[in-house]
């Protein structure tokens, strides 16, 4: 009962309700195998269509609508106080916005602190003085400012300390011989 390979597709189309090709009709008149295959395919098509219709053959319960309405009412009552999807979405968006804002503020604050730290360091550097001047400060530095002239002493012993002022010893000698 195997159909001719050439006509196999056309037989399937014919079994599914497509219009018959005149050439195929001529062939069917002479080929018993193809005729038998067509009959089988038509039978199978009927079974398939019937089977497809039976996919949804069951009927709901007689009180189906009442049950559905009761169930919907019950669920509505249970979920009455739950926030709706829109509210949840809005709350989530607000939380994300808040977190992003806090992040930006924190970043700006950190940047400002960093700037202040750099500026203060720069200010400290600009007002820094070398410690040399302080270290070299001594009571005798006046000697370095003006070296004694000829006939002057570096020290004046009667003043009880280092020479604060250069004096003229020769003039004193003249007054107190």
């Amino acid at each position: 009962m195997k159909p001719c390979d050439r006509w196999r597709e056309s037989l399937a189309e014919l079994a599914l309700g497509a219009p018959a090709d005149p050439e195929l009709s001529e062939h069917l008149a002479t080929c018993a195998s193809c005729s038998a295959a067509l009959a089988k395919m038509q039978s199978l098509t009927g079974e398939i269509d019937l089977g497809i219709r039976q996919l949804a053959s069951a009927e709901p319960n007689a009180d189906g609508a009442t049950r559905i309405l009761a169930e919907v009412a019950s669920r509505v009552e249970r979920t009455r106080w739950l926030p709706s999807g829109k509210i949840i979405a809005a709350a989530f968006a607000a939380a994300v916005f808040l977190a992003a804002s806090l992040g930006v503020l924190w970043r700006l604050r950190a940047q400002r602190q960093e700037t202040e730290r750099v500026l203060s360091a720069a200010a400290r550097i600009s007002s820094w003085k070398s410690p040399t001047r302080e270290l070299l400060h001594s009571p005798y530095e006046i000697l370095l400012e003006r070296p004694p002239r000829l006939g002057e002493y570096f020290y004046q012993l009667d003043s009880g300390g280092p020479l604060m002022k250069n004096s003229a010893p020769r003039a004193k000698e003249k007054q107190n011989p």
């Binding site: 996919l55 069951a58 189906g64 609508a65 309405l69 169930e71």
Partner: protein, 185 residues
């Protein structure tokens, strides 16, 4: 549960204010068979189909305010039921595959013994072959099984042109015929 329990205005307290409880009830009564048939065609299980119908109408109630064209409620709720049923079908198929994979291997050998009732066997095989079809073809075949849905309704549920529904249905039937005729011929 008595009908009066849900007739006392709960419908207007939530959801679309424009829709009254009476209107929603009318719509449920008008469309619940259709949604059940759609769900049953997908699931082949009465209890699962009834749960899907309840889910579908609950969602429809919650989203009623989002329905821009109220006259399309029937196609809209049918589409919702179809999607929910499909999700459940996927979940149960996965679970069944996981739980009974060893059983299916042994039950294949017993197919001849179980073929006493030819019609049931044919129906079972057909169901398997429909499940193996590509998703787009399977959807059209399943929805075409529902008597309340014509080609235009199916096109509305699947958001495709009517011509596409017809061509996909033809391709699906041809694919099924090929499977069965290869065995028979």
């Amino acid at each position: 549960m008595q009908g009066g329990e849900y007739e006392i205005g709960w419908c207007t307290s939530l959801g679309d204010e424009a829709q009254s409880a009476g209107e929603f009830e009318q719509r449920v009564r008008a469309c619940h068979r259709l949604v059940f048939h759609v769900a049953y065609a997908v699931l082949s299980d009465r209890a699962d189909a009834e749960e899907v119908v309840q889910d579908a109408f609950f969602r429809a109630y919650r989203k009623l305010s989002g329905l821009r064209e109220p006259h399309k409620f029937r196609a809209w709720v049918a589409q919702m039921g179809y999607r929910l049923a499909l999700n459940r079908w996927r979940a149960t198929t996965r679970a069944r595959r996981r739980d009974t994979s060893w059983h299916e291997m042994s039950s294949g050998a017993q197919a001849d013994v179980e073929s006493i009732v030819a019609q049931r066997e044919m129906q079972r095989r057909l169901r398997e072959e429909i499940d193996r079809l590509p998703r787009k073809l399977r959807a059209v075949v399943i929805l075409s099984a529902v008597q309340e849905l014509d080609t235009r309704d199916i096109a509305g549920v699947l958001h495709i042109p009517e011509g596409t529904v017809r061509s996909r249905l033809h391709l699906a039937r041809k694919a099924l015929l090929r499977v069965f005729s290869d065995e028979a011929l």
